[in-house]
Subunit: 286 residues, 2 copies
């Protein structure tokens, strides 16, 4: 499993990826999933992968060696792609090349030909862009409405992103929220683990602002995890306990089956419960 | 989709279920998924379902009509099962009955024969128990180590449970945390929605302490959602922004491909990044 998330913001781009790779629970290792490509002053790109490691590594190796353009004969790679869109298309072509060359082999042995990429960055003359590229090689692009994309185990870490990420937040605040999102994911899924690779790109810089690996004992991230746990406990404790009036001393109608009730099934609002129907309304006190 | 969660605690049992059922995004309706069965003073049981609605309703109808015991000829149902374990086994048998009678029909048209149940409660003479029953009819039982079980869309709401639910917390605090868990799930998955059904059973009471439907405009739950959002924003804002030293003014080595590095791949701790290798170490300031 994997968790990678990319955020496209007013000020730039943030990408985060974990490094845990496993072939079963009994074969766990560390592999880099976030790779940075660039020509300082001209372009900077981050490519994060999830899915079958042999497929994602083959795609990256194919990109490194370049793909021959059938019309011009030129070898195309990420460092000579004229725009981010064409670079994203090139990644899609690399995925399809690997699919053709490795054919059905991964599908036979494995959960299948399973690979996704987040690809973000900026090339001089083009705008800063972030894409998610699917196993079929097609892609979607991140926009201001939902300024983040995720691949891999995306569910555990999504609520905090949904609540906190907006297009206008500061880059390092976004990095912080992204790290909280990764922390939530790591707590619930053993397939996502430390160390983490992070990339921060400031719009118009054509270079990485931060290209860093956060290790297991890194003090900032350790403090973030502890602070967040503490804050969640405090937040939860600060919410009052529900004061629904209890049914203590009241009795259920004998041998009832609180069951499929046609009115219940169609109700859009609060239908009467069987207790209410039996004059034993559980009401909110106070 | 569905989200149901059950918690087995020192003081009793809490069960929560949403009510949204959908056949595609264009056919959404409200169905009760948490049903309460009981004979006051003798037994109380909650049964929450997820999966194919036709299957779960057929299982419940089969349970209501009773299943003939081939040895004794007696009609067995949830109200005459001698123990919670035998009641859980009866539900398993009902699932298998439906599987046999409806055969391959659901599999042909649908994602398949897909149903799970949470089943909790207490029968006089037995202890309070909580089971998760699988589509195959087998089950697992909740224990003190992880005092909750979930069915349906369990991922979004799991982090808060992992952090806050312990065996010894108060029943209504557990209900509160469960409602936070449902709130997180509803925000991220449209397949989970209001109203919510909740059941609270106090150990040894053999009756529901609370059997209640929370509607969309219910004041306590609305306040809980707002307080939790506010508290999360505050918690997030209180964590300092990372102070990793940025690379501004530094340059990536020309045209590097930060790529698969054998040392990197094997590193357990923080390996040098390409910047570090090039003497451009991104270090933490302060």
């Amino acid at each position: 499993m994997t968790y990678c998330c990319g955020m496209l913001l007013r000020d730039g781009l943030v990408m985060i990826a974990d490094t845990r790779t496993n072939a079963g629970l009994d074969n766990v290792s560390v592999f880099r999933k976030l790779r940075v490509f660039g020509k300082p002053g001209e372009r900077v790109m981050g490519l994060a992968s999830s899915g079958n490691l042999s497929v994602s590594q083959s795609v990256v190796s194919t990109l490194n060696e370049g793909i021959k353009n059938p019309e011009t004969g030129e070898m195309e790679n990420l460092l000579n792609a004229p725009t981010m869109f064409q670079a994203a298309q090139l990644i899609g072509r690399a995925i399809r090349h690997v699919h053709i060359s490795e054919g059905r082999a991964p599908e036979a042995a494995d959960p299948g030909f399973n690979v996704s990429f987040l690809f973000g960055g900026e090339i001089a003359g083009d705008r800063l862009r972030l894409f998610m590229i699917y196993p079929e090689g097609n892609s979607i692009e991140c926009t201001v409405d939902t300024p983040y994309l995720q691949i891999g185990e995306h569910k555990y870490g999504k609520p905090v992103l949904d609540r906190a990420i907006t297009y206008s937040i500061d880059l390092y605040t976004a990095l912080k929220i992204g790290l909280i999102s990764v922390d939530s994911t790591m707590r619930s899924n053993l397939g996502v683990g430390m160390p983490l690779d992070v990339l921060v790109v400031r719009r118009g810089a054509f270079d990485a602002d931060l290209d860093y690996r956060i290790g297991p004992s890194e003090p900032y991230f350790r403090d973030l995890r502890e602070s967040w746990s503490r804050a969640l406990r405090a937040a939860q404790a600060a919410i009052p306990v529900p004061t629904y009036k209890t049914l203590s001393g009241r009795k259920l109608a004998p041998a009832i089956l609180t069951d499929i009730d046609p009115e219940d099934a169609l109700a859009e609002a609060v239908p009467p419960s069987p207790q209410q129907a039996a004059g034993l309304s559980p009401v909110k006190s106070g």
